[in-house]
Amino acid sequence: MPVEDIIKAVLDFNEAQVVDLINSELDRGAEVTSLLNGGLIAAMDEVGRRFSSGELFVPEMLLAAQTMKAGLGVIKPVLSKTGAKPKGLVVIGTVQGDLHDIGKNLVSMMLEGAGFTVIDLGVDVAGETFVKSVQDSKADLVAMSALLTTTMPALEANVALFKKLGLGAGVLVGGAPVTRAFADKIGADGFSEDAVGAVEVARRLMAG
């Protein structure tokens, strides 16, 4: 089945094959959302499952996500013509004073792989920049990471700022020093220990 072939190509990190398969299926008149959901999203869900069980590691996740993005590059223009909505719109960034990005990048890739549209603000992002981006894009969720205990206070300050302004977007936080207890204390809506969990949290928050 074509979607199974797409899944296999993602797991094999075969960008050219993913692109070819998707193009062929679209030429045959296949439903673009089925290629996305049954192919690319299913592939990344499998990647996440294997990472959580210790079968795959960060390099495999990076390569799978890169391969998925190649496929998404073909799907996105077609999808936008159908009027199909993404699973949600997420603004993501590492907080001000923090330049670490690998964890944030993995979350960003996994969210895209799960069908979310992601606006990645990069690193060292001021609270006001998160606010402007969420307001301008009408994002559903804002995801913030802090990789240092010394930059964790920025998470708390940003959540307080968002509440003060009535931002409305759900807030996810994460990063090596961040705990669920800290996330609850600062009033975040969701917390995840890793990129795979972040997708589940995002899905849950979108489901209301």
Binding site: L62, T150, P177
Partner: protein
């Protein structure tokens, strides 16, 4: 038992023999030193006298028997002089931004320096002074960047990780150059007289790379560094997290040891899972993570450590180090809170009967 020096204490505990009291180990303390002793990050990175004084005060005041000290990635050798780009943000330690190794053509432009300069020169000078001042009394250790760590700074972490799977020929070529750089860093560090550096593959954790990829691709280069620095001079302590080649049980054990050392989800269960595995050159760790040190109360920290020590000492007959993996502070107020907790840990250690 007579009072021992911290060095003696660490040596005995590492060998599994009974010290006068359990050693305290700290693996990272740079921002705390800056906030607590009132120096800027720039001063820490560029003023050898201030940096040395701060590290000495910290070691003595908090009785750090084993101090993996003078922390800061920019100090370890992959500085601007090698074409590595760093960014300073506010008064934080700089973060890595970009490396010069984009393609094979760039490889010929990467050379081992003829002499130390910049931040690495500062690192060496502080080591020299620290060793002269307290090196006989305390177990001082510093990091020698391992070849893969060097590669991550030259190539970028994500690219280097991907290369381990899909670009191995290029990876092997640049790892050879990185090995030469690692040997250079190690020789300069050993020349300061500081006797206990560790070969540090700082980016390799059990999730970051498949252990058998580490053993096949990276370990030979690490071993080459150790051979060229002379065996025993720079234990590759953190390679223990990768277990043994083609041995899933030991690799699972290595991953447990990683959790135990870094205090990932501090629990007696984590310690039990790691109990049969060791880091070369270090006692078994009873660890408190940076995030626990920041978020737990002194009472919670002491209660957990007491439970861990009772299990390890009384239950297993071991002499662990009380390991504070990451002592960090983002303000003076935060530093005072951390100091209070460290003093509580020190009091527990002093009172704990072996």
């Amino acid at each position: 038992m007579n009072q021992m020096t911290p060095r003696e204490r660490v040596a005995l505990a590492t060998r599994g023999q009974k010290p006068d009291k359990l050693p305290i180990m700290v693996a990272n303390s740079n921002t705390f030193i800056c906030q607590y002793y009132g120096m800027s990050v720039e001063e820490f990175l560029t003023d050898p006298q201030l940096c040395t004084e701060g590290n000495i005060k910290f070691t003595r005041e908090f009785a750090v028997d084993y101090n993996l000290c003078v922390n800061g990635y920019i100090l370890y050798g992959c500085g601007p002089e090698l074409g590595v780009e760093w960014k300073f943000v506010g008064d934080n330690f700089p973060g890595f931004v970009n490396g010069p190794l984009k393609s094979e053509e760039d490889l010929s432009r990467i050379e081992v320096p003829s002499e130390p300069s910049g931040y690495f020169k500062q690192y060496l000078e502080v080591m020299r002074r620290l060793n002269q001042a307290i090196g006989q009394e305390y177990h001082l250790s510093v990091s020698i960047l391992g070849p893969f760590a060097v590669a991550c700074f030259l190539r970028g972490i994500e690219e280097a990780l991907k290369d381990t799977l899909v670009n191995r020929d290029f990876a092997r070529k640049y790892l050879k150059v990185c090995t030469d750089l690692s040997v250079y860093f190690g020789k300069q560090i050993l020349a300061t007289g500081l006797g206990n550096p560790i070969l540090n593959e700082i980016f390799l954790t059990p999730q970051m790379i498949r252990p058998d990829v580490f053993h096949e691709l990276i370990a030979p280069f690490d071993q080459e560094v150790q051979r060229r620095l002379e065996p025993g001079k720079a234990p590759n302590s953190l390679a223990a997290f990768m277990g043994q080649p083609h041995d899933p049980e030991s690799q699972k054990g290595g991953a447990s040891l990683y959790k135990a050392f870094f205090g990932v989800g501090e629990s007696i269960e984590s310690i039990k899972a790691a109990i049969n595995f060791r880091l070369p050159g270090m006692p078994f760790p009873a660890s408190i993570s940076g995030r626990a040190l920041n978020s737990w109360s002194s009472r919670e920290i002491v209660d957990y450590l007491k439970e861990a020590l009772d299990f390890l000492v009384k239950g297993q007959g071991l002499y662990p180090s009380i390991t504070l993996v990451s002592v960090q502070a983002e303000s003076r107020e935060n530093a005072l809170d951390i100091a209070e907790k460290m003093n509580a840990v020190k009091a527990l250690r002093d009172e704990y009967e072996l």
